[in-house]
């Protein structure tokens, strides 16, 4: 008998004959009066920061805030501040030198400062983790209250990979001291435009 | 209303005064209280050690002795929790068990839920700082106060009752419902952890600045008092009935 069969038979032999019902997940949940403020507060609490860009000029923003950064990639088309085309790399390993990755996020989640990132056109997911800093660009007002609303917007019909990113990578594995910048980006800014 | 007084076995032998205080409190309320002479032990030590057969023998005995009272009241959260939360595995379906289960109360809980605070009057004062010991079974199984683990409104039946006494100042340790490490046979089978937990808990009580530690379980208090006496620490344990009966 295959192991699959062995396992499934064992489960069948052991499981309850009266399964309990699957509950609804969309329970009444919190709503925030000012979602932007909640998002910014939560993101700050996990080491990131949120900025609302009034004029929508990402190039100018990058020029001003990332002065010493030279290797910049972006999944957003027509950004003049971009200096490296990530999708042209032969292997993801070539993205090791990226100092700033500008990526698109679909929406933010107020309760935890996370942004849903999918970027179907981005060839290498490694980009999100190899880059020294992340700049996630999200449409203004694309913020939901909680994960309940967030998952209503998440689909996996075609694309294989997507993730919620909440701030920069971090660890507290040494004596519970929080250190920002573990293996992934050491900074993560969410830019609403 | 006829009340069966249930005195934990070790309290009967070692704490006759606190046991008597329990009786006094109930009698002072004009209640008809009987102490059934044939009672011995609820079987908690056996049950908590996994000796199911032995525990079941004592559970059945207990039911026979106490099933005909309107209420069974005891000065112990954990012995009451034994009846209410653990007896079902041996007594489910037995005649009188549902009634017993529903009507067995720890005394503070009984004063709070059945007599009601508005009907209670204490004619004495107790002008002391008292640190509340939330013993685990009273706290988490009988749910006599809100738990730090849960997202629930704050309440404490113990505090509500004690606050009726003039002059009393109630305090709580920084870890208000951390276990003291008594745990029944745990106290000896895991002696090192048990005493380490106990000392930490006593120190947390001392740091409130209280003169007394009070709670609804003599077993936890006995464990902490044992540590206090050995280390000659500046605090003293009192069972809640010792305060409620007139605070000597």
């Amino acid at each position: 008998m295959s192991s699959k069969k062995t396992i499934l038979n064992s489960i069948k032999a052991n499981k309850s004959q009266n399964p309990i019902e699957l509950p609804e997940t969309n329970i009444p949940h919190m709503h925030y009066e000012d979602k932007n403020e909640k998002f910014a507060t939560m993101l700050a609490s996990v080491g990131g920061n949120a900025i609302w860009l009034e004029d929508g000029d990402i190039n100018a923003f990058v020029k001003e805030h990332y002065k010493d950064v030279t290797v910049i990639t972006s999944t957003i088309e027509n950004l003049t501040c971009k200096t490296k085309e990530a999708n042209l790399a032969q292997t993801p390993h070539e993205l090791e030198d990226v100092e700033l990755a500008i990526i698109e996020g679909e929406f933010g989640v107020a309760e935890n400062g996370a942004v849903w990132v999918k970027n179907p056109k981005n060839k290498y997911r490694a980009l999100y983790f190899l880059a020294k800093q992340l700049l996630i660009v999200v449409k203004k007002d694309a913020i939901v209250d909680t994960m309940h609303e967030a998952y209503e917007r998440v689909r996996f019909d075609k694309d294989g990979y997507g993730l919620f990113i909440s701030g920069p990578s971090k660890t507290a594995d040494i004596e519970q001291s929080l250190v920002i910048g573990a293996h992934g980006p050491t900074a993560a800014c969410v830019l609403f435009v | 209303m006829k009340i069966g007084l249930f005195i934990p076995c070790f309290m009967n032998e070692l704490y006759p005064d606190a046991s008597m205080d329990t009786l006094t409190i109930l009698e002072n309320l004009g209640l008809d209280v009987v102490y059934p002479m044939e009672q011995t032990c609820c079987g908690q030590a056996q049950a908590n050690t996994g000796c199911s057969h032995e525990a079941s023998v004592l559970a059945k005995r207990f039911l026979k002795i106490f099933k005909d009272y309107d209420y069974v009241v005891a000065p112990s959260g954990s012995c009451v929790a034994m009846v209410r939360e653990n007896y079902a595995q041996w007594l489910e379906g037995e005649e009188g068990f549902e009634h017993l289960k529903k009507n067995t109360y720890e005394i503070t809980e009984f004063l709070h839920d059945i007599i009601k605070p508005e009907n209670l009057k204490f004619s004495f004062s107790f002008p002391h700082k008292v640190s509340i010991h939330n013993s685990c079974h009273a706290h988490r199984e009988l749910h006599m106060a809100s738990m730090s683990e849960k997202n629930e409104p704050e309440f404490s039946k113990i505090k509500t009752i004690l606050n009726l006494i003039e002059g009393i100042e109630l305090l709580e340790p920084s870890r208000k419902d951390e276990c003291c490490g008594f745990g029944g046979t745990f106290a000896v089978s895991e002696e090192a952890v048990s005493t380490a937990m106990g000392i930490d808990k006593v120190n947390d009580h001392i740091n409130t600045g209280a003169k007394f530690i009070t709670g609804v379980d003599m077993s936890c208090l006995m464990h902490m008092q044992g540590l206090i006496d050995r280390q000659k620490l500046p605090i003293k344990t009192l069972h809640i009935v010792q305060i409620l009966a007139g605070g000597k």
Partner: protein
């Protein structure tokens, strides 16, 4: 050695024990704050528990759904009935792909299967990439906690270890400095890896994908560089629907560390370009637990570690005192279900305070399970003759009130007259650090009778 002896050793270093207790209490306090910031917290716990209970009731169905949907998305699904088969599958996949260097993110399942030594014996370089795991791996220690693998170590210990293995400066134990050193060291390992392994937090039956939650980004970095990604998943990690994740992601990180969510919540439904992704579904004793009414719900666990952090025994006895892959309340019940004889002291490493059951985000009745396991210990005659005999005699005495009264009276008369050296001899474990209460002249019953007689 059982838990009491190992615990006593840990407690012997009072300063270290208290440091450990405080470190974990700090995490518990953060968890409390996070859980209280969500109004519907208790409702979430209930729904999470129901989802998991439902899934276990139909687990065969959901596993097949998962396999079907994962396969349709181009993922390879394997089934392993036990640890041995799991390890063999991993090795085969590595060898078939010519992989010699493996980077691995945290997976308690691979710990349970003792995968690392197996692969190393077969010439594979295995690098644990979670910082805490890497620290203990370099020290040749197992993790002492499921979320905080190196929680038993002080930064100075880590400093010494890194000095030896990573060449950091002697005496420098600054956490940021050490973390940066590990980052540089592990970055090399990531870039040079031939294959990556991750655990699985959730396997979604509906979509056929898996979700991995991390803070460091190590799982993603591993899974997105080399062409081969192997994910090991216990059968109980399945959830029915994508939207169930709303409930679990709201609970998991808040319960684990008090964060609102992990830095990365990654959903894998495809390998990287030109890569392969394999998922190994592992039983290893789990399906048998489904058949146990008392212990089934232990399989609802989402491995947040909250029960471990809140456990007053764990905090004072350390992860190694349990002698099982997973320590604390959840480990004690899983360990006892798996091998009661080997883990017979674990159900008793608990004061039945019930804090664990109330922090658990999926409402596992942990303390009640440990209580029930004690009954199995007795039923299988593993309690120890002396303890059982004492309780049998006590019970016999308690059946006869007169006998009980006489015993009590004798004890109260004799004990106070005995010399201290006898009362507090070695066999009196109570008296090692505690005084006995004073023995009164009369029992309550005697006083009650006297009063009635008046």
């Amino acid at each position: 050695m059982g838990h009491p002896e190992l615990a006593e050793k840990f407690i012997a270093n009072d300063e270290r024990m208290h440091w450990h207790d405080k470190a974990l209490w700090f995490v518990r306090a953060k968890r409390d704050n996070a859980s209280k910031s969500v109004d519907e917290w208790e409702k979430l716990r209930k729904v999470a528990s129901q989802i998991k209970a439902h899934t276990l009731d139909k687990l065969d169905y959901y596993l097949e759904e998962f396999e079907k949907n994962a396969t349709a998305k181009g993922l390879h699904v394997h089934w392993a009935k036990d640890a041995k088969e799991h390890n063999e599958i991993v090795l085969r996949l590595l060898l078939n792909n010519g992989a010699k260097k493996l980077v691995k993110s945290k997976s308690m399942l691979t710990e349970e299967c003792h995968l690392n030594p197996y692969l190393e014996e077969h010439g594979i370089e295995v690098v644990d990439t979670d910082l805490g795991e890497r620290i203990v791996q370099l020290r040749k220690e197992p993790p002492s906690h499921i979320v905080l693998p190196a929680i038993h170590l002080k930064k100075e210990d880590v400093g010494t270890t890194f000095e030896e293995f990573l060449g950091t400066k002697k005496g420098n134990s600054d956490p940021t400095y050490l973390t940066r050193a590990a980052r540089a060291h592990l970055r090399e390992k990531f870039l040079g890896a031939d294959a990556a392994m991750t655990g699985v937090n959730f396997g979604i039956a509906e979509t056929g994908g898996v979700v991995v939650c991390t803070n460091e980004g190590n799982a993603d970095l591993g899974a997105s560089l080399p062409k081969l990604h192997i994910a090991s998943m216990g059968i109980e990690k399945i959830i029915p629907r994508l939207k169930d994740l709303a409930v679990f992601t709201r609970l998991l990180a808040r319960s684990a560390t008090g964060q609102p969510i992990t830095s990365y919540t990654s959903h894998f439904h495809a390998p990287i370009i030109d890569g392969q992704m394999h998922i190994i579904i592992v039983d290893n004793g789990r399906s048998a637990i489904i058949g146990s009414k008392d212990f089934k719900s232990s399989l609802q666990c989402i491995r947040c570690g909250a029960c471990i952090n809140t456990c007053p025994i764990y905090r004072r006895s350390g992860g190694y005192s349990y002698g099982y892959t997973i320590p604390g309340p959840i480990g004690s019940t899983l360990g006892a279900s798996k091998d009661l004889r080997a883990n017979k002291t674990l159900p008793f490493a608990c004061s039945l305070c019930a804090s664990c059951s109330n922090v658990c985000p999926v409402q596992i009745n942990l303390h009640q399970q440990l209580y029930k396991h004690r009954q199995s210990v007795v039923a299988q005659k593993l309690l120890g003759f002396q303890k059982h005999t004492i309780l049998k005699i006590a019970t016999w005495v308690m059946k006869y009130p007169l006998l009980m009264d006489i015993s009590g009276k004798l004890a109260r008369a004799i004990v106070p007259k005995l010399p201290r050296s006898i009362v507090y001899s070695k066999v009196n474990l109570w008296g090692k650090k505690r005084e006995l209460p004073p023995f009164p002249k009369n029992s309550f019953k005697e006083l009650y009778k006297q009063r009635k007689g008046k």
